[in-house]
Amino acid sequence: MSDEKLVGIVLVSHSAAVAASVAELAVGLAGGGTTAPVAPAGGVEGGGLGTSAELISAAAASVDRGAGVAVLTDLGSAVLTVKTLLAEGDELPAHTRLVDAPFVEGAVAAVVTASSGADLAAVEAAASEAYAYRKV
């Protein structure tokens, strides 16, 4: 496992505050030591609620260390925009995946797993598994 090649995590929300806070939470819960690169892509340029393809592309580029990028989204246009960018082929770094996961719990699982040096498939599996954590 190499510290230089951690999987990057992008958190896409309709709200800049939600994306930034979930990123802060996930990094905080990942504990000390090296954490995987995490970038929020929240809201639209200029600050309103919505989804920005440009912010998503920039966030993905900023966390790409060559080990792949896992993208988690909240809903609606966030999901559709990431899917569209992936379908375009050249808008996101190679080995970028939209991960099907609950946003908050999935983000924590993804960042903790990626910080351990796990590969993209393991990060994706950990984030998706968060759907199965029952609370009652």
């Binding site: 639209v44 309103g48 609620l49 919505g50 989804t51 920005s52 393809a53 440009e54 609606g76 246009s77 559709l80 925009t81 899917k83 569209t84 960018l85 379908a87 375009e88």
Partner: protein, 199 residues
Amino acid sequence: MLDADFFRRWMTATAASVDREAARLTALDSPIGDADHGSNLQRGFTAVTATLEKEEPQAPGAVLMLAGRQLISTVGGASGPLYGTLLRRTGKALGDAAEVSEEQLTDALRTGVDAVMQLGGAAPGDKTMIDALVPAVEALGESFAAARAAAEEGALATTPLQARKGRASYLGERSIGHQDPGATSSALLIAALEEAAGE
């Protein structure tokens, strides 16, 4: 035959009618959506018009590819990737021919609508833009006027439907009785074809 100018006129006419109808689209989006459909599309198509003027793409496919790219970049709501995918896949299917037939446009648009269904997971009857686009493509083989009528009829027919996709689906039965804003804007896009043809 339809050249790049026709496709530019299509986009310009769509931008003009979205401008004209923005308040109505947003009003339709208020009870069952997040009240931004008109303003989102207005921002998107304003950007489309500006880019087409600046870059002057010379082929039908290139016009739609560029327009779709702008919508994906600038809309900010779900209609951005959905309309962006519609135009880009249609444009890609047209290839780089300098002129295309109405039949080629119909086939390409069918490819684009299929891509939208795949992206959003919506089928006819889900109370989405698909309910205007699918009948429009079917009628396009006949004429632009028939396509417009079919799209408008499809949009009106979304009123009694219960939404099964998107934010409106959270409302369940309460989404019944409202015309779908996406189907309504899709009907504007199709109506603009007839305008571009000068029929």
